[in-house]
């Protein structure tokens, strides 16, 4: 009986110790920093600086209204999320 309880008891104690580990606060800060550092930068999001129409027909309509040519880029995947 003692043999079967010991590993469980050790596991519980280990989990409790891990939960109380003050290094978790440091790790949480490290995680926050990584999340922040890896966000897309303004330079990587210059696509957002362009005033895009939602679709071809809207672009054509606005082109006629404002006497502007239409720049149409057709592509695979999702350019807005970089998954392309």
């Amino acid at each position: 009986m003692k043999k079967s309880i010991l590993p469980i008891a050790l596991a519980v104690l280990s989990s409790v110790a891990a939960a109380k580990d003050p290094s978790n606060d440091k790790l949480a800060n490290w995680v926050r920093q990584r999340v922040h550092q890896w966000q897309p930068t303004r330079e990587e999001r210059r696509l957002d600086e362009i005033g895009w129409a939602r679709n071809i027909r809207e672009a054509e309509q606005l082109g006629r209204e404002h006497t502007r040519p239409v720049f149409l880029f057709t592509h695979d995947g999702r350019i807005a999320t970089g998954r392309c």
Binding site: G51, N55, P69, V70, F71, L72, H75, D76, A80, T81
Partner: protein, 284 residues
């Protein structure tokens, strides 16, 4: 295009001041997942036919220039369009030809990767992944949005009456939904899932509450096969170890925050990082 000409100040200025710019994904126009309206698809077919008839060139990945009255005017294949100088020359030539008056962008610029619609019972998560190898066109972040329904995010909550030190493992379906986007930018011509997860785990450990907030540490691992190109199977794998933290309300009945990052992550021969955070908690 995004990392090259469409990040170039001169190109951006030309497009904003003289053109009506629009980009469309082929995925929305062709195949089962097409979401473009019938009228929109017909119009695209008309344009491609007109460009073809005029010998101006066509392609799935292509730059088309339409005259202000909506007719084929000029174009560039993608190889040429990715050369910023070539694209700039094309745009300047079109401006000279049609003489549009310079003005502010007709449509105000706006963030292009934005949160998908989600009801107030859902929680929304955002993932960014990036390669660490520099000077590569692929050194550009990939982004994904994940919406978890109430039934899904509730699986992240600690078991009832759990004490600090209690651990629980997130169920397979929700783990897959959270981790399937943990891959660096690859050739993604469609959003169809081509991942094969061989091993995944997100293990949560309840930490002592702080200032009325219940917290859990998240330790995880992932091994996932993902071909670089869609439709071309290969033996490239994502392998990652993960660390994160979640915060719950005092009662442990609602998730308030979650951040999860890769500690170490590789794909094929390169390394990458992935970071996920909850953008919007459920409010009901």
């Amino acid at each position: 295009m995004r990392v090259g000409p469409l990040s170039n100040s001169k190109v951006i200025s030309l497009l904003n001041h003289y053109f009506i710019p629009v980009y469309v994904s082929n995925e929305d126009y062709f195949g089962k997942g097409a979401t473009a309206s019938a009228e929109e698809r017909v119009e695209r077919q008309r344009l491609v036919a007109e460009f073809g008839n005029k010998g101006l060139g066509t392609g799935d990945v292509h730059v088309y220039i339409l005259s202000p009255d909506g007719h084929a005017a000029a174009g560039l294949d993608i190889g040429s369009a990715m050369d910023t100088n070539r694209l700039t020359q094309l745009l300047e030539g079109v401006v000279k030809k049609f003489g549009p008056r310079s003005g502010e962008p007709v449509i105000p610029p706006a963030v292009q990767s934005s949160m998908p619609p989600a009801d107030s019972a859902s929680a929304v998560f955002y993932v960014v992944t990036r390669r660490f190898e520099k000077n590569s066109p692929e050194d550009f972040p990939g982004e994904n949005w994940i919406v978890l329904s109430r039934g899904e995010w509730q699986k992240l909550l600690p078991p009832q009456a759990a004490n600090p030190g209690a651990t629980w493992i997130l169920d397979k379906e929700v783990t897959t939904k959270l981790l399937t986007n943990f891959y660096p930018p690859t050739e993604d011509t469609s959003s169809a899932d081509r991942n094969h997860i061989e091993r995944q785990e997100l293990r949560l450990t309840l930490l002592p509450a702080q200032t009325g907030v219940s917290r859990a540490r998240i330790d995880g691992s992932l091994k996932m096969k993902r071909s670089y190109y869609p439709g071309k199977p290969d033996d490239r794998f994502v392998e990652a170890t993960l660390l994160g933290f979640a915060e719950f309300d005092r009662a442990g009945s609602r998730i308030q925050a979650l951040q999860l990052v890769t500690k170490d992550a590789s794909y094929a021969d390169g390394s990458f990082g992935a970071a996920m955070r909850m953008i919007q908690p459920a409010t009901e």
